[in-house]
């Protein structure tokens, strides 16, 4: 049985326009266009002919770039926004975690806000009474529950919002990126709760940019692109396809920037946010390949990776260093090195060439990683620095944690009875 049915839904928004914004009551009366039909050039299509079916008990992920319509889809399913065309049907109580603590009033206490927010989300007073202590304990706010919410830190605010929303006990839970703001100890707690939901066969619609979590917890994933459903299906396949698409797009952007007329480039040089340097030595192209030489963006931890940089040095340089840096999605440096640190001594470079960094085995945990590549002087003066311009994903069925997957094995003495993992 389907818990959520989205049937050919389109959602059209009006574009922000200064003229409309400052339209006055008088002018509307004069023109008689109080309910006027909107002209097509003022419209933005956020969703276009989207059809999805989510089965009951399924955890369904929605991924896509910013502005691809994910949040709009969630709002349409929650009923907050009406579809312009099409129909949405949901089975059971829907609770939407779109923004935590959206209904809080800063002047009154946490206790009173729990009641009001709870009622807004569809709980009865009795239900709140029964769950009150649990909510407070989950939010870790025992000592502050009678203080006005305006005195809360943003972390406390968020915890309280989540604690209420998760206790609404809906049949369908819609989650929009709300976990992105939690601290390291709270997010696992929230994920625990979501797991609990899954075990109880509730339906979850999960919108996130954290592809790792999506791939881990979802049964099915839909990929939205420009308001349309690009693909639906098995999480890993969809996530891979999405990453491939993102990589291609970045590739294209990069290509476009490279082909920009010299004049503009001159002016822009050194100012672009993610790329700087005067390009006395230019990194004109970067590609990520498997050890066998095939371009790809999703790797397994046991796999190797080849970073290939096309280099162009219009004039002769004698002081140069090539470097790479790998960062995870939290911006933590996982690994960084350069030719100078490894005691390569530059002699000279001129014309076009190729630099290849060959990593025999990635040994990273699952996740999305960003790559810095750079050509610079020994003292750090940048020729061409690409900051986080490339990304790749490490994906596998392994569930270990940390930053790196250290090569390891387990050994047990004979008196410990432990079954080895079943090989898939």
């Amino acid at each position: 049985m389907n818990a959520i049915e989205v049937d050919h839904v389109s959602r059209i928004y009006q574009k922000y326009s200064a003229r409309h914004r400052f339209q006055t009551f008088k002018s509307a009366l004069v023109k008689g266009d109080l309910f006027r039909a909107l002209r097509p050039d003022e419209l933005v299509t956020a969703l276009e002919d989207v059809s999805l079916n989510v089965e009951k008990g399924q955890t369904f992920g929605v991924i896509g770039e910013n502005g691809s319509g994910k949040s709009t889809l969630l709002k349409v399913i929650a009923g907050i926004a009406k579809p312009t065309k099409g129909r949405v049907r949901t089975e059971g109580k829907v609770s939407a975690l779109i923004e935590l603590g959206a209904g809080f009033h800063p002047e009154i206490s946490g206790r009173e806000n729990i009641y009001i927010n709870g009622i807004m989300l569809g709980l009865s007073k009795k239900e709140i009474n029964a769950k009150f202590d649990e909510i407070v304990a989950f939010a870790e706010l025992e000592d502050f529950i009678d203080a006005p919410v305006k005195t809360y830190s943003s972390g406390m605010y968020m915890r309280l919002g989540f604690a209420i929303a998760i206790n609404v006990n809906p049949d369908i839970l819609l989650i929009d990126e709300v976990l992105a703001v939690g601290d390291a100890s709270f997010v696992p707690k929230c994920l625990d709760r979501i797991d609990d939901f899954r075990r109880r066969e509730k339906t979850i619609l999960f919108v996130s940019h954290d592809l790792n979590t999506v791939a881990k917890i979802c049964d099915d994933v839909a990929w939205l692109k420009g308001g349309r459903v690009q693909a639906v299906g098995e999480p890993k396949r969809i996530v891979d396809a999405y990453l491939q698409d993102v990589a291609e797009k970045q590739e294209k952007d990069f290509e476009k920037r490279r082909q920009e007329p010299a004049g503009i480039q001159e002016e822009d040089k050194g100012r672009r946010e993610n790329r700087w340097g005067k390009r006395e030595i230019e990194i004109s192209r970067v590609s990520l390949k498997s050890l066998a030489g095939k371009e790809k963006s999703v790797f397994s931890p046991d796999e190797g990776m080849v970073i290939e940089m096309d280099i162009a040095a219009p004039s002769r340089q004698q002081d140069f260093v090539f470097g790479i840096g790998i960062f995870n999605s939290q911006g933590i440096s996982c690994y960084g090195t350069n030719t100078h640190l490894e005691d390569y001594e530059p002699v000279s470079i001129e014309g076009e060439g190729k630099v290849v960094c060959r990593i025999e085995r990635l040994c990273l945990i699952n996740g999305t990683y960003y790559l810095d590549v750079a050509a610079h002087k020994k003292d750090g003066y940048p020729y061409d620095y690409h900051r986080n311009l490339y990304s790749f994903m490490v994906s596998s069925s392994l569930r270990d944690e940390g930053i790196a997957r250290l090569p390891h094995g387990w050994e047990f003495s004979e008196n410990i009875k432990i079954a080895p993992p079943k090989k898939a």
Partner: protein, 272 residues
């Protein structure tokens, strides 16, 4: 029409939320003030003192109804100002309510009508806090009560429906036309003086001009205010026909307000 009743039913389903939001509104408004809820009483009282000084002592009350007594005049004023403050603060706050609570409309699914309903209702609670004080004053300084005081709830009902209709209309239109806020405060000042609050309907200039009389009679607030003055100050019978017609007007306004609100509802999350 069916939609209208469907929406009313939705509102009824959310009555616990309305009740809680009203309590929250009342608690939050006076949080941190020394006098707290007493402000519900002091605000109209201070306003009354200003009008008593100006119209009672400086421009002496000429109407025979007041016996040349500034105190009686002050009581008469209070009968009108207290409900007027309910009406005017409700409509002024409603003009802002959807915009200031924009995050609710955008992020949580609940009928947006609740917001103006809560505004009108919490202002009604302020009004009812002031009411016992007014009754007490009339008992001590005034002519005392007649049995007609028990008709007061009827007048309050008419005003409640009228205020709610007006507030729904204002709230929904202001989302699209922000200038209403500024027009409204000026319009309310005009409306205040176009309603027999600082002067009685029996005032000689009014009775002397049929044009003025017709004008005032076309104003629904005239009959509502007269209802209060009749029940409380004059101790006389309500004017059934006029109040009845006003009630019908109030119901029509409420219907129009609710329909416009419903028509514009879907645009709120985008516009606020």
């Amino acid at each position: 029409m069916a939609r209208f009743f469907h929406n009313l039913n939705e509102l009824y389903k959310f009555r616990v939320l309305i009740q809680n939001l009203v309590v929250r509104e009342l608690k939050a408004r006076y949080r941190g003030t020394v006098l707290g809820f007493l402000w519900s009483f002091f605000n109209p009282l201070l306003l009354m003192i200003v009008y008593t000084v100006v119209f009672g002592f400086i421009i002496r009350p000429r109407d025979p109804a007041f016996n040349q007594s500034p105190l009686l005049y002050a009581l008469f004023l209070f009968c009108g100002i207290l409900p007027w403050v309910w009406f005017s603060s409700s409509s002024l706050e409603s003009a802002n309510v959807l915009i200031t609570h924009g995050n609710l409309i955008k992020k949580i699914l609940f009928p947006a009508e609740i917001l103006p309903v809560v505004t009108v209702t919490s202002n009604f609670v302020h009004f009812s806090f002031g009411l016992p004080i007014l009754l007490l004053f009339i008992l001590i300084f005034g002519k005392g009560f007649t049995a007609y005081v028990f008709l007061l709830p009827l007048v309050i009902l008419v005003q409640y429906v009228f205020t709610l209709g007006f507030s729904l209309l204002i709230a929904s239109l202001t989302v699209h036309f922000r200038d209403i806020k500024d027009i409204l405060s000026n319009w309310l000042t005009f409306w205040f003086f176009a309603t027999p609050i600082v002067y009685p309907m029996s005032f000689e200039t009014i009775q002397g001009s049929s044009l003025l009389r017709t004008f005032l009679n076309l104003n629904p607030m005239t009959h509502i205010m007269q209802g209060y003055q009749n029940c409380l100050f004059f101790g006389s019978m309500l004017r059934w026909k006029r109040l009845g017609v006003t009630f019908i007007v109030a119901l029509i306004l409420f219907f129009i307000g609710a329909m416009v609100f419903d028509r514009l509802r879907d645009s709120f999350p985008e516009e606020v």
